[in-house]
Symmetry: C2
Subunit: 148 residues, 2 copies
């Protein structure tokens, strides 16, 4: 058997749980890289599994592929990510996660208030009325409902 160091796209797909077409797609987006055999088939180093795993985790956290790409770019060109690199990324993403969590919490608390309090006349509900307030404040400024 050939050394296990090189993986075909199918093998990567199976081990990572990501479809072959998605791997192709990630490649077009510059998120992963491969070299080709003489017969033009993709071959991946084992580190691609790390990358794909990172990509999936980040997506799960709600980061766009573009964002993930940017983060991965920050890694020294073509280098297999070290623990330092990973550390950096996960710290950054952890912060993003924290932000998202607190945003959601604010919303939830808003809803909770709406349920618990007497505001159920709806018309006085703080959440419900943010919109209206915005409108009255003038522009159609598309501010999000949540305070940032």
């Amino acid at each position: 058997m050939a050394p296990v160091t090189e993986l075909t796209v199918g093998q990567v797909a199976q081990r990572s749980g990501v479809a072959v077409s998605a791997l192709h797609f990630y490649e077009t987006r510059g998120l992963i890289r491969s070299h080709r055999t003489s017969g033009n088939q993709r071959r991946y180093g084992r580190d691609v599994l790390r990358r794909v795993a990172i990509i999936r985790i980040a997506q799960e956290v709600g980061i766009s592929l573009a964002g993930i790409g940017a983060a991965l770019q920050s890694l020294p060109e073509g280098r297999t990510p070290t623990r330092e690199d990973w550390n950096l990324l996960s710290t950054a993403w952890c912060d993003e996660l924290d932000q998202k969590i607190s945003q959601l919490k604010k919303l939830r608390d808003g809803l909770t208030d709406c349920i618990g309090c007497g505001c159920m006349s709806i018309d006085k509900c703080p959440l419900r009325n943010k919109d209206d307030r915005l409108a009255r404040e003038g522009t159609g400024a598309r501010r999000l409902l949540v305070e940032r």
Copy 2:
């Protein structure tokens, strides 16, 4: 001036902070309703503001329009939502929110562990390896990274 009970699409747009085109769109999706003037222009009852507000809140919470539609369907046909109805919806959505929050927390804690612990060899990282484990467990079953 005519009684303020009926709103034009433009007025709804302004008061709700939602674009006219979005209101049209919501209507095609059955999320809001209007009747027409003899000249075929939309007129809305004031309760549309409630509906739109609910829609926006739910979206903010990460619920899809389809999901919102389903929830709104559960309200008695064509009735203006009462405080009871709203209560029901917000309770349900609050639960969804809670779930989302705890999902994110799990992910964050996973990341945090990865940062703090010695697992930074990456290869032993619990997050990183969920994929691989899945692959080994057999199918390409597209399970999400997070436990539910």
